[in-house]
Symmetry: C2
C-alpha cells in the first residue's frame, strides 16, 4: 500500500449525482471536501490577514509558485522555514506549478522540449522554467499539495495544438513525478497530475489515462476556465471526471463562481480555486443572498443596512453598505478588506451548505432551489452542456 | 457649577514637572491622560479596522471634518446615526474643525470676516466655511470632542499676520461658542478653544486670555508642528501652557513623535494627535525598542525576527521582518496594515509607560533614560528651548 493510499477518504457518495463528500488528510490538518480554496497569490490573500482567513472559515489556500519564485524568491521562503511559517498560516496550502502564469503573464515565451524560457513580467529578467525547477521551487515553498508543471492553452485551440500540448504535459508530468520522488519530499507533499486536452474528449481521455499510469496522489482538471462558455466547461467535466481515479481527490483549477462550483461538485469534483470572488470584492461587487451588489454604486450611499442581512461575517455584523461604499470611494483599504471578507465568507457558507446537501443526498433539491432562488438572484442559470467535437 | 466642570479630573501632578495624569469622562467612556490619539482622517485609521484599533489600545481617535464634509458628506454620517455608528467605533472621537485642511489642502482660499471661501482639493467645487458651518458639521458628525474653527498659519509668520490671525481666531471662537450653545449639542459635545499666536509670547498670552473668558470645556495649542524647529515648539509650550486653565484638558495639535510627546507632557499637555506614526508605517518605517527600522530595505529580506522583539502587537507576535518587507515590496496592503498596527502599539505602550512615570513621580528618570537609551536609538535628542521674540 502506497504512502498516498487512504490520504483522501470518500465518506459519502450522493445518490443522485457523481458528487462525493470526503476528507483530505494533510500534514497541516484535515480538509473537508468539496472545498473552495481562496487564492493567496503572493503569500497573502489580498487585503486579508491569516486571522481573518481563519474567521471566514478557509480550510486551505492556494499560492502561486511563479510569483513567489520572482518575489521574494523561493530560497527566502525556504530559509524562513517554508511558506506556512513565512506567512503565518497553519492550515494546508496548495501551490500551483507556475505554468499557468508563465503562459499567461510572462513575456517572450519560448517553449522547448526541456521547458519554457521567459521574461519576468516585473523587470524583464530572463528565466528558464523546467518541470524539475518547478518541483524544486515547490519543494522549497513546502506546500501540502503541489502541482505538475503543465502547458495550459487558451480556448479555443486547434486540435493539433492541443494534441501537442497533451503530449508535452504528459512528458513533463513524468519528469515532475521523477523529480518529486528523487529530489522532493514525496512523503509530505502530495503531487497532483493535471489533465489537459481542451474540449476534445479523446484527448482528455488520452491525457487522463497517461497520467493515471503514474499513480499521482491527486488529479486536476486543467485547461478549463480559460475563456470557454460554461456549457463547454460542464461538457468537458462530463467526459473527463469519470476518467479520473475514484480514490484520489479531483481538483478543478480556476473555477469559483457558485453556479460552476455546484455543477463541478455534481460531476464529482472535490476541490476548486478562483481569484474571482476576491478580485470582484476589491472592485466593490459582492455576492449576497438577495443578489449581486456593486456597493461602490451611488445607490448605496445612504443604505445603512449590511451587505447581506443573512450573513454572519465581520463586515456584515459591524458595517453598513453606506460605510463600505464610502471606504471604497475614498480608497481606504479597509473597504476592499471588508468586501473580500464578505465574499469569501459567502462562498464558505455556500460550500458548507453544499457539503451538507451532498451528505444528506439532497443535491437535486439543493440545485433546483439554487437556480430558483439565490442563484437566480445572482444571475446564474443552469448551464446546458454543449456538444463537443468527436475524437 | 457648569456642565463641563469635573468632566476632566486631574488625579496626579508629577512633582518635578508640569505633567499631570487624569481622566476625561465622555459619553463614550473614559480616556486616561496623557493620551495619544491616532488619526482616522476619512472615518477610518488608514489600513485598520476598529477591532484592530481596540487591540492596539487606542482610547480615542481623531477624524477630519474637512474630509468628511466633502465625502461622504456630514448629512450621510448624521443619517447613519453619527460617526461612531457609521464607522463602528464605540470609544470617544474628536473631530477637528476643518480649518487646518482648508488652509493647507484646499485651493483658491479667500478669507473674509465671515469665513473662508475655497475650492475642494478633490473636484474643484466651491465651498464656504464659517465658524457656524464648522459647528453644524461637527454636530452632525457627533464626536465627543469638537474644535473651534480657527486660522492656523505656517511657520515662520510675520508678527502683523499672526496678530491679525489671533484676532480672527478669537472672533471666530466667540461665534463657535455661540453656535455650539444655541444650535449644537453642548451637553454631549465638548467644544475646545484653540490658542494661536505663533512664536510670539505676548500674542499667545492674548489668545489664551481671550479664549479663557469663554470658559471652554478644553483648550488646544494650535499653530505648532507647522514647520518650526523643535526648540521653538517647546519654547512656545513653555510660555503657553501655564496660561491655560488648570482644570481643563490641554490638547497639543499635530504632535506625535515620542520625544515631543514626552516634552509636551512634561510641560502639562494632556492630549496629542499626529498622522506621522501611521504615515511612516505605510512608507515602511517603524519605531522599535532598538531604533528606527525601514523594513522595506533590502537589509531585511532575510531577517526572520519580528519588527521589535520587545513588542506584543499582532504584527510582532506572528510575522517576520522578511515577510513584512515582502508584503510592502509587492504592494500587498497587509504589509502597511502590520506596520501601522506596530507603530500605533509602540506609541500606546510608550504612553502607558509615560502615564505610569507621571503617576509615580518618576518623570525625570523616565526622560533621562529615554534620551540615553530608546530615544537615542530612535535618533531623538532633548530639544533646547529657543529664545522667542519679546512682545
Amino acid at each position: 500500500m502506497g504512502r498516498w493510499d487512504g490520504w483522501f477518504t470518500v465518506e459519502h457518495h450522493e445518490v443522485h449525482s457523481h458528487a462525493r463528500a470526503g476528507r483530505l488528510h494533510t500534514p497541516h490538518g484535515v480538509v473537508e471536501t468539496p472545498v473552495f480554496m481562496p487564492v493567496g497569490t503572493q503569500a497573502a490573500v489580498k487585503t486579508l490577514s491569516p486571522h481573518e482567513l481563519h474567521q471566514v472559515g478557509a480550510q486551505i489556500i492556494l499560492s502561486n509558485t511563479y510569483h513567489l519564485y520572482l518575489r521574494p524568491g523561493s530560497q527566502v521562503v525556504a530559509e524562513a522555514g517554508g511558506l506556512h511559517r513565512f506567512m503565518a498560516w497553519d492550515r494546508p496550502i496548495l501551490t500551483d506549478s507556475g505554468g499557468f502564469q508563465v503562459f499567461s503573464l510572462a513575456a517572450l515565451r519560448q517553449v522547448t522540449g526541456d521547458g519554457v524560457r521567459f521574461r519576468s513580467h516585473l523587470d524583464g529578467s530572463e528565466h528558464f522554467f523546467t518541470p524539475e525547477l518547478s518541483m524544486a521551487v515547490q519543494r522549497d515553498l513546502g506546500a501540502d499539495i503541489i502541482m505538475c508543471f503543465d502547458e495550459c492553452l487558451a480556448y479555443p485551440a486547434r486540435r493539433d495544438e492541443v494534441e501537442a500540448s497533451v503530449e508535452r504535459t504528459t512528458r513533463w508530468a513524468r519528469r515532475c513525478h521523477r523529480a518529486w520522488q528523487e529530489d522532493g519530499d514525496p512523503d509530505r507533499q502530495a503531487l497532483f497530475g493535471i489533465v489537459q486536452g481542451g474540449a476534445y474528449p479523446d484527448l482528455r481521455r488520452r491525457s487522463a489515462e497517461e497520467l493515471a499510469e503514474l499513480d499521482f496522489p491527486g488529479y486536476a482538471v486543467g485547461g478549463l476556465s480559460v475563456g470557454e462558455p460554461a456549457g463547454v466547461t460542464v461538457a468537458v467535466l462530463d467526459v473527463t471526471v469519470p476518467l479520473l481515479p475514484a480514490g484520489r481527490p479531483r481538483y478543478l483549477m480556476g473555477v469559483g463562481t457558485p453556479d460552476l462550483i455546484l455543477e463541478a461538485v455534481w460531476r464529482g469534483i472535490d476541490m476548486m480555486d478562483c481569484v474571482l470572488p476576491t478580485r470582484m470584492a476589491r472592485h466593490g461587487t459582492v455576492y449576497t443572498s438577495q443578489g449581486r451588489i456593486t456597493v461602490r454604486n451611488a445607490a448605496y450611499a445612504r443604505d445603512f443596512g449590511p451587505l447581506d442581512p443573512a450573513c454572519d461575517c465581520y463586515a456584515c455584523r459591524h458595517f453598513s453598505r453606506a460605510y463600505i461604499r464610502h471606504l471604497l470611494k475614498v480608497n481606504e483599504t479597509l473597504g476592499m478588506r471588508l468586501t473580500t471578507i464578505h465574499n469569501l465568507r459567502y462562498l464558505q457558507r455556500f460550500m458548507e451548505r453544499l457539503r451538507q446537501a451532498v451528505r444528506e443526498d439532497r443535491l437535486p433539491e439543493f440545485r433546483a432551489a439554487f437556480y430558483r432562488e439565490e442563484g437566480a438572484a445572482l444571475g446564474f442559470r443552469p448551464p446546458e452542456p454543449e456538444p463537443l467535437p468527436a475524437g
